[in-house]
């Protein structure tokens, strides 16, 4: 590790001032499960490191007026253990429950996962599936945007829109109404734990009282730079009765889309175009089970 100065501010305001003051070459650290490894391997060489772990004000899970708000410093372990998230937001529960190992989940934070914007980020894939908003703060003030917009932006690291002196403080999304909406996540990985996702697939589906699909959103992580959307598959489902058979009809569309998107990397597409379908079969079965529409036997 190259030398750096270290600060551990006690408040967000103090952290933002320090970040601004050192914005030429600063890194913030939360759980450290990405950053400490990068420092150790000299892939990251900041002059100043600012610890966020003392910012207890960013460690919370709150449900207010139908909106779920999760502070950036909340760990994967805390999200996985939260009863409301487990019951109402399966996609996020499942994603956080399966990150790395117990030790990594005790350290790693949802804010770190979103800010890292890794191809294989499971929290990221789940939050994008939920069409979540992120709140960013700097000395210039606060801005809020969709995660899609956050990821499309070119900020300090080019991985997302974050400026060098900007903190991600919160991720938020509408609390699903589980009588009509189900969310699910399935991760294909090489080992049971520690495995970085090979593919992590997420879905949100809403049906009306007659079981007709009124909304569908499907995303898969680790297929491209950012969680991949499947708009044609979603459009195929909306307006139809949600059944396993109808859902299976989207798989050829998905196959072709993954093939097309990964044309330049034929070695990876060979299995990915097949395995993405296996992942979504599991997701579909879980969604139908949660909505009480169909029990799929495999």
């Amino acid at each position: 590790m190259r030398p750096f100065d270290f600060y551990a501010p006690a408040t967000v305001v103090e952290a933002l001032e320090l970040m601004h003051q050192h914005k030429e070459n600063v890194a913030v650290i939360a759980g450290g499960t990405d950053l400490v490894l990068e420092l150790n391997e000299r892939k990251a060489n900041p002059a100043v490191v600012i610890d966020l772990k003392k910012l207890k004000e960013l460690d919370y899970i709150r449900v207010e007026e139908g909106v779920v708000r999760i502070g950036a410093l909340t760990t994967h372990a805390a999200i996985a253990a939260d009863r409301q998230i487990e019951k109402y937001v399966r996609v996020l529960h499942e994603a956080c429950r399966q990150v790395g190992s117990p030790q990594i989940r005790n350290l790693g934070t949802i804010g770190g996962n979103l800010a890292q914007s890794s191809v294989a980020g499971d929290g990221l894939a789940a939050c994008v599936t939920l069409d979540a908003d992120v709140t960013l703060r700097s000395v210039r003030g606060e801005r809020r945007m969709k995660l899609d917009e956050f990821l499309a932006g070119e900020g300090a690291t080019r991985r997302n829109i974050l400026a060098a002196d900007e903190l991600l403080t919160e991720v938020s999304f509408a609390l699903p109404d589980i009588r009509h909406t189900a969310t699910a996540f399935y991760k294909l990985a090489k080992r049971k734990s520690l495995a970085i996702s090979v593919i992590g697939g997420g879905m949100v589906a809403t049906v009306d009282d007659n079981g007709i699909c009124t909304y569908a959103r499907m995303r898969a992580g680790a297929l491209g730079r950012y969680p991949m959307p499947f708009p044609t598959c979603e459009a195929h489902l909306v307006g139809k009765k949600l059944t396993y058979a109808t859902m299976l009809e989207t798989l050829p569309i998905m196959h072709d889309q993954v093939l097309e998107a990964n044309k330049s990397r034929p070695w990876s597409v060979f299995y990915k175009k097949e395995s993405v379908q296996g992942v979504f079969k599991k997701v579909f079965a879980d969604v139908l089970h949660q909505l009480g529409l169909e029990e799929v036997q495999e």
């Binding site: 590790m1 190259r2 100065d5 270290f6 490894l37 490191v49 772990k53 190992s101 117990p102 990594i104």
Partner: protein, 155 residues
């Protein structure tokens, strides 16, 4: 680079350590405090050999900067034994024949201790899940899981 002073509790005693900020908790424990039971395996969060109990939870000390440990309560294997004698978990590992080369064992024992502190009567499934972040190249895990179950039966 300005040195920092880290104040924390290690094995039930308050300590303060003057250290360069570009050191990990793993380095601070091994080099500055001489607690060499904390092993460095992969250096990237994968193997669990560097596991310590940190504010009651098992974490990999290779992923934490020393400065982040300010105010933390840390337990290493050295803080587990009672009056120099093996505690329940250590005794169960010995009796179960769960130790071969031993490199992974400090991390294994601390992960098991953290599990049993929270959940003194875990199921085999819960034991497997809790131990899944600790890799062992020798034993094949079965005897380690049995050792944790044996310790639990004596809690």
């Amino acid at each position: 680079m300005n040195k920092i002073t880290v104040h924390c509790t290690v094995n039930h005693k308050p300590v303060s350590v003057e250290i360069e900020p570009n050191k990990r908790l793993l380095d601070m424990l091994r080099v500055n405090l001489g607690l060499t039971s904390v092993k460095e395996g992969c250096s990237e969060g994968e193997c669990g050999a560097c596991t310590v109990i940190y504010n009651g939870e098992p974490v990999t000390s290779c992923c934490i900067l020393a400065g982040q440990a300010e105010g933390a309560d840390i337990i290493t294997l050295e803080g587990v034994s009672v009056d120099g004698k093996p505690d329940v978990v250590q005794q169960a590992f010995i009796e179960s024949g769960a130790i071969q080369c031993g490199f992974c064992i400090p991390g294994m024992i601390l992960t098991a201790e953290a599990l049993l502190m929270k959940n003194p009567h875990p199921t085999m499934e819960q034991i497997k899940e809790a131990m899944s972040g600790n890799l062992c190249r020798c034993t094949g895990y079965k005897k380690i899981e049995e050792a944790v179950a044996l310790a639990a039966s004596r809690m």
